[in-house]
């Protein structure tokens, strides 16, 4: 099946999705102090949280939308966005898979997504298909026994105000950047994870399992804290094309790792990329940062970015603790008119800190992709070490691939290495496969998957399998 056909159908779904019903539970578009007070009130937040939001809002008013990225999009009208809408009522959703577009289901089939998950992804009223409550209950029990807190950020503000006060906004300060400030003012959803000292979280956590995850918020706020010697692996997003009603996504993710803690954060992002002119796709402007506060702590970011009209994100690590480790593994695929400006920042502050960056970019169609990274070695980061590998693969002669690696090195004992290559799929490689009876499409898919191997092997098992399938679907029709 041609990609265009599939996209057309997927798009139709989205067009419907962007319509917001004005109900009593929804604030009209626009942003001012009363909107923020409304959100805070709806969430039943204490006064200090409202003040925190208002402070962020006032700082945001003074800031300017950044223009340095290698991206092209019309200015965003922040007054045209509705900042709060109550979760959809079950009767508004498709009642069963029969009502869902068959082509969308076909995509799920290709990706090998389990049946009961398809319903949730397609926006079918969840209770109609499987009993999410029972699944969640068993799972909550297990986490509870281990002492792990995993809940929505709104619940956490209510139930664990001390932890929130202690950690929220300490990794990504309120006025860190334009979108982070906006998020701080209006965030409505997100996850909170707290893993106490010495605990290894008994399972991989995923927003998908969280009970109120049916409506992914437009302004998500995630906070993950690992105390000494604690470990957690967190999965965000999923491989299936997600239905979503909001065009602008400005999430903030904060990770805090204390001594000897290890946080692994994996993302698969496949939001709607827009039509062939890139119109209507999701703008994904995300601030993700991990703080290795404790000695020997480790934070690892893995991302597979295939969706969104515009992706703008730089998952970063602040390596404060001695001998702490930051890692970034990324595969970004752009096709059609997609634009991605993504990369990472590794800020070495502590002695003996190490960072490792592997970024693989694949641009096809008329898309544009940039790797933008910063490796900064501070004067006290004795013996710090960084290795960066960033490779780009171009498919077709109308796409663009760019690399902007910043390195700021202020310490003579540091060792920093950066390597980058840009090339197309080698004709000799293709020929080799073809001569062994492998079809051109399969050969390209094999080569592309091989190109991304270093990153895929960092993904949790089930994600890795899906990611490979996802790559093939995204690039379908790009090779001719």
């Amino acid at each position: 099946m041609a990609t265009e056909e599939m996209e057309q159908l997927v798009r139709r779904d989205y067009k419907e999705g962007f319509v917001t019903d004005i109900e009593s539970e929804t604030v009209p578009p626009g942003l001012d102090e009363s909107t923020i007070a409304f959100i805070s009130n709806k969430k039943g937040e204490p006064d200090w949280m409202l003040q925190w939001r208002l402070d962020a809002y006032h700082q945001w008013l003074k800031m300017k939308s950044p223009s340095w990225a290698h991206l092209d999009y019309p200015p965003i009208d922040y007054q045209a966005i509705s900042y709060y809408s109550a979760p959809k009522r079950p009767e508004d959703m498709p009642q069963s898979l029969d009502e869902v577009d068959p082509k969308l289901l076909e995509t799920y089939e290709k990706l090998g997504i389990p049946l009961h998950e398809r319903a949730a992804l397609a926006g079918v009223a969840v209770d109609a298909v499987f009993d999410s409550v029972s699944v969640t209950t068993t799972f909550k029990k297990e986490l509870g026994e281990a002492g792990v807190i995993f809940c929505s950020i709104s619940d956490a503000i209510r139930d664990y105000p001390e932890l929130i006060k202690q950690y929220l906004g300490t990794v990504v300060p309120v006025a860190d950047n334009y979108f982070a400030a906006l998020n701080s003012a209006v965030f409505t959803d997100g996850s909170f994870v707290f893993v106490p000292e010495g605990v290894t979280c008994p399972m991989e956590l995923s927003t998908y399992f969280r009970i109120n995850a049916a409506n992914t918020g437009q302004f998500e706020r995630t906070l993950i804290i690992c105390e000494s010697r604690a470990q957690v692996s967190y999965l965000e997003g999923c491989t299936a094309p997600m239905r979503d009603e909001n065009q602008l996504h400005a999430a903030v993710v904060e990770l805090v790792a204390l001594e000897d803690a290890y946080i692994k954060y994996s993302t698969v992002q496949n939001w709607y990329p827009g039509d062939e002119n890139g119109i209507g796709g999701i703008y994904n402007f995300v601030t993700k940062r991990g703080d290795c506060r404790g000695d020997r702590s480790r934070i690892s970011w893995t991302q597979v970015e295939t969706g969104s009209a515009i992706t703008w994100k730089y998952p970063s690590c602040v390596l404060r603790g001695k001998e702490s480790v930051g890692e970034f593994y990324s595969v970004a695929v752009t096709n059609g008119r997609q634009q991605a400006d993504t990369g990472t920042k590794m800020i070495h502050i502590g002695e003996g800190t190490r960072s490792y960056i592997v970024s693989k970019g694949i641009s096809a169609g008329r898309s544009d992709q940039s790797y933008r990274g910063l490796v900064k070695i501070g004067p006290r980061a004795k013996g710090a070490r960084n290795f960066t590998q960033c490779d780009s693969l171009l498919i077709g002669d109308t796409s663009g691939a760019h690399t902007f690696p910043y390195q700021e090195i202020g310490n003579s004992t540091a060792t920093v290495e950066h390597e980058a290559t840009t090339s197309k799929i080698g004709e000799d490689q293709l020929f080799y496969c073809r001569s062994r009876g492998i079809s051109e499409e399969d050969a390209v898919s094999m080569i592309v998957n091989g190109f991304c191997k270093d990153v895929f092997q960092e993904l949790p098992m089930e994600f890795a399998v899906e990611a490979e399938a996802l790559l093939n679907v995204t690039l379908e029709g790009a090779v001719g």
């Binding site: 171009l394 690399t403 390195q407 700021e408 004992t413 980058a420 090339s423």
Partner: protein, 448 residues
């Protein structure tokens, strides 16, 4: 803003002295001044100036030099001891006495810019400002506003110049710091060949500001080797914008050897506009004390089958600050491109800093482009290995530093330049290790 006004005042004074000039020159000058006034000096908020603060330039109350008095003995001590044609500028003012163009073949024209402007020579009418517009940077605008002196070099088709052409810029020590805005124009016609050495030097206690713009046009098959030996005094401020335009099968090779200058910023841009054009950028920057050296390079692959190769080495000691920003741009439909870029840096002190950004911007798919960048320190084990062989620590460090620069320096085929770099980078090496010594040993070996 008052900083800009000072520069404009100096300009006004100078123009009043000069009297009338052809309208086209006056118009370009006016455009430069207007553009400079509109832009003002760059700040660290400008991406291209993120790591370089030009406050020292903006706030220095520079005047223009009135004469080119300089003793022949001092000039002789500074100049490169090689057989070459020479044009000498003292604080930007041309010195006929210190220049030597004897024996220059007729197929080569070398003249001071002032002379070309005065004659309204065809060499300047069209080309001047064609490659470096006033839009490029506030400094290129400033240069355009002030342009009055510099060098014009024209090579007739097929000319191979027998000796290097040296353009030497002397910075004098004086009560009043001065500024100069030299403009260099090089036009190499089809299949011509030349080596041009741009040499900056001066009195060790001078503190002047040089703002150079060079426009270099290479026609089909022309080959130009451009050395830039930067030995300016350690308090000198130096900004240079070099723009090269390359037609089919031309080759431009740049050796940017930066040893001196307190604040140095080089912008080197080449447009590879014809198939088979090739650009080689070799660079070495050595910083000590509080030197600040910023090198920006850009290779625009505008035509298919073009080739660029870049290798920059940075060595930073004390509190020196190095900046490297290399960029390779491949335009859409410029297929079969090869672009390589490498930047390696050696930090010799804990307070030295390097900010490096090797960029690729690619819009075509049939390309081979790569870049690499490394930063590290001298290998302790290598120092130890030399020490066990009876070489003292200082010499060992010198030798290893020199070896680090080797990849770039082995491309340089003018011994006088290699020796200067060697002395600056490795200090005074024992005879058996320095170039002169090695040449002697090799000669003795060949005789035997």
């Amino acid at each position: 803003m008052s900083e800009v006004i000072h520069f404009l005042d100096v300009l006004k004074k100078r123009l009043a002295q000069r009297g009338s000039e052809p309208t086209w020159i006056a118009a370009r000058r006016q455009a430069g001044a207007a553009r400079f006034e509109a832009m003002g000096f760059p700040t660290r908020r400008d991406e291209a100036w993120k790591y370089t603060n030009v406050r020292q330039i903006a706030q220095g109350h520079f005047e223009l030099a009135e004469d080119a008095d300089y003793s022949s003995a001092k000039a002789a001590a500074l100049t490169l001891p090689i057989d070459a044609y020479r044009l000498t500028f003292v604080d930007g003012v041309f010195s006929a006495r210190l220049s030597d163009m004897e024996g220059l073949p007729e197929s080569v024209q070398v003249m001071p810019l002032s002379q070309a402007l005065e004659q309204n020579h065809e060499a300047v009418g069209g080309p001047l400002g064609r490659l470096t517009g006033v839009e490029f940077s506030p400094f290129s605008a400033l240069n355009t506003a002030f342009m009055e002196e510099g060098a014009v070099i024209r090579l007739a088709p097929g000319t191979v110049v027998d000796k290097p052409i040296i353009l030497q810029f002397v910075s004098r020590a004086g009560e009043q710091p001065v500024m100069s805005h030299p403009r260099v124009l090089i036009e190499a016609a089809g299949r011509s060949q030349a080596t041009v050495i741009e040499h900056h030097m001066g009195d060790s206690d001078a503190a002047n500001f040089t703002n150079l713009v060079a426009e270099i046009m290479l026609d089909r098959g022309a080959i130009l080797t451009h050395y830039k030996l930067q030995e300016a005094p350690l308090a000198d401020l130096h900004i240079a914008s070099i723009h090269v335009e390359q037609r089919r099968d031309s080759r431009y090779t740049s050796y940017n050897l930066n040893l001196g200058g307190g604040l140095v910023r080089n912008d080197l841009v080449t447009d590879l506009n014809g198939q088979g054009a090739e650009a080689n950028f070799y660079g070495l920057f050595y910083g000590q004390g509080r030197q600040h050296v910023d090198n920006h390079t850009l290779a625009n692959h505008n035509a298919p089958r073009t080739f660029s190769n870049e290798n920059y080495k940075g060595i930073l000691d004390d509190r020196a600050h190095g900046v490297f920003n290399g960029k390779v741009v491949v335009k859409r439909d410029s297929q079969k491109i090869e672009g390589f870029q490498s930047n390696a840096n050696l930090l010799l002190s804990d307070r030295a800093e390097i900010d490096t950004k090797p960029e690729l911007e690619i819009y075509a798919d049939d390309v081979k482009c790569s870049h690499g960048s490394t930063t590290g320190q001298l290998d302790k084990e290598a120092i130890y290995a030399l020490r066990t062989r009876g070489i003292d620590e200082q010499t060992a460090r010198g030798l290893l530093t020199l070896a680090f620069a080797g990849e770039v320096m082995e491309q340089v085929d003018i011994d006088a330049i290699t020796e200067r770099v060697e002395l600056a980078v490795a200090g005074k090496l024992p005879e058996r290790f320095n170039l002169a010594g090695l040449v002697e040993i090799a000669a003795a070996f060949n005789e035997a």
